[in-house]
């Protein structure tokens, strides 16, 4: 939420170019009709070849419009949030330029009231549907909707989010109930994962996953509100005593 607003701030006073002419793009399109053809005449050769060799080198640097369009194309095929530096690397463009283009693109979608929402999540960028149209989208998402988390699972998840890396027994101690079952559920749902073990006890440690951040629309756990305001200063010491 916050980063969304700050995104807008960043872009305040920045005028998107909605209808500027782009003759270059059209020329490129006409010059490369072969790309449109679905290949598969000799798929083996393409598959066996070195990845880099199969890819034609791009023709010179990208202008702003091309960069944005290339990002849109790539974002259309990603299946998890993609880091801006990976995009910069693939496009062979400076990171700042790519980040600026992404921020601008996201703001442009929002300003235009597009049903597509470009968001930063879990340290990367990905296209999402805009929540306003969830009712319609829902009818097309055939894959079984995951049931919402129970209160117990949410509490355990909160402890992991704020205390990570953390053992199951610590989660249990904070909640006052055994948490083995809900911990297992959270691992199966991909929201938390094991990350080594505590040196002394050998007990598994758990942390939240990128999927957790993505499902919650967070870029990092730092965006969660501070726990401290809820807590008197000395609670931790007393509780750990």
């Amino acid at each position: 939420m916050d980063e969304h607003r700050s995104l807008a701030d960043e872009l305040a006073g920045w005028a998107p170019p909605p209808g500027r002419p782009r003759p270059e793009t059209d020329q490129v399109a006409q010059a490369q009709p072969a790309v449109e053809v679905v290949p598969a005449v000799e798929p083996e050769s393409a598959a066996v070849a070195e990845p880099s060799a199969a890819v034609a080198e791009p023709v010179g640097p990208l202008d702003d419009a091309e960069l944005t369009a290339a990002l849109e194309s790539i974002l259309l095929v990603v299946d998890e949030p993609v880091a801006d530096d990976k995009l910069a690397e693939v496009l062979d463009e400076p990171l700042e330029r790519v980040v600026f283009a992404l921020v601008e693109l996201s703001a442009r979608y929002t300003a235009a009231g597009s049903g597509i929402d470009l968001r930063r999540a879990a340290g990367g960028w990905r296209l999402y549907t805009r929540p306003e149209y969830a009712d319609y989208v829902q009818r097309f998402v055939l894959d079984g909707q995951q049931s919402r988390l129970t209160q117990a699972a949410l509490e355990a998840l909160a402890v992991v989010a704020y205390k990570q890396p953390v053992t199951r027994s610590r989660i249990s101690a904070i909640r006052g109930v055994n948490c083995d079952g809900v911990t297992r559920t959270l691992v199966t749902r991909g929201l938390i994962e094991e990350c080594g073990s505590e040196p002394d006890s050998g007990a598994y440690l758990y942390r939240t996953t990128p999927l957790f951040l993505e499902k919650l629309g967070l870029d990092s756990v730092d965006q969660l509100p501070q726990l401290a305001p809820f807590l008197p200063d000395n609670v931790e010491e007393i509780a750990d005593a």
Partner: protein, 275 residues
């Protein structure tokens, strides 16, 4: 969890996720802050709710409820005495126990609020779907050819490995038909056993229980013995092993244990009237 009233006394249980959650819900029901007065106010209700839980306990849950119930009873008893200055070790221990309970309660409360925040984020996220489609065929065709050299035997072994449960399966007790048990009877068993052993863990004391209901009965019986000042509890860490110590001396002890609702004996009728 459990809902509604069981015969004997009327309690309306909302879903609670543990002893701290139950305490907080009770305190907020009385519109109180988390104070000593609040704890004292809800002590009886807390114990009433524990009684109403009946089925659905496991040993791990029970011990934590028991420790908290014991602390609450201690605090309540202390409040009934004329206010005295802290002079002996027992008072000091009580103050420590109280502070620890407050600290853990407030800590839990903070995480519960954090969980509410996360729930809100989850709800908002559930109205947003990511782009997740299969690769356009010409890109998929360009992927480096897959090298798959696994033998069918190794695949079978992998399947078995994946399907072998990673954790000890828990035995469900849901199917066990309900047996009526007597808290008074179990209090008697525990009294005899503890007088002989002097010290025993809750787990040991319940080792011969045939079903959950018997564990609950032992649990309630321990509370009764505690209320009578015959035993004390020691627990090194939260959810750790709960140790019970006999402090009733060597002489014969008459138990004044009221029966609870659902007891087979005819004494069940007056169970709700007890305090």
């Amino acid at each position: 969890m459990t809902d509604g009233a069981t015969e004997g006394f009327t309690v309306r249980l909302t879903n609670f996720t543990g002893p701290f959650d139950l305490l907080l819900q009770l305190i907020s029901k009385h519109k109180l802050d988390v104070t000593e007065v609040a704890l004292s106010t809800v002590t009886d209700e807390f114990i009433a709710y524990i009684r109403a839980m009946g089925e659905g306990w496991d040993l791990d849950e029970a011990s934590e409820f028991l420790v908290i119930a014991a602390t609450l009873l201690d605090l309540k008893a202390a409040r009934l005495l004329p206010a005295a200055t802290v002079e002996d070790e027992e008072d000091l221990a009580l103050l420590e126990a109280r502070d620890l309970l407050f600290a853990r309660l407030l800590q839990y409360k903070a995480f519960k609020e954090a969980a509410a925040h996360i729930s809100g984020l989850e709800a908002a996220g559930a109205r947003r779907w990511p782009r997740l489609v299969s690769l356009e065929p010409h890109y998929a065709a360009a992927l480096p050819e897959l090298v798959l050299t696994i033998s069918p035997q190794r695949l079978a072994a992998l399947a078995v490995k994946a399907m072998t449960p990673k954790v000890a399966p828990t035995v469900s007790v849901d199917h066990i038909h309900q047996v009526r048990v007597s808290v008074r009877e179990h209090a008697g068993i525990l009294r005899d056993r503890l007088r002989a052993l002097q010290v025993a863990t809750f787990r040991t004391l319940c080792a011969d229980c045939q079903n959950t209901l018997e564990v609950v009965a032992r649990f309630l019986a321990l509370l009764e013995l505690y209320r009578e000042g015959l035993i004390s509890f020691v627990q090194a860490e939260a959810l750790g092993e709960l140790t019970v110590r006999w402090s009733g001396g060597d002489g014969a002890v008459e138990l004044r244990v009221d029966e609870y609702a659902g007891t087979p004996a005819e004494t069940a009728a007056d169970a709700d009237g007890q305090e």
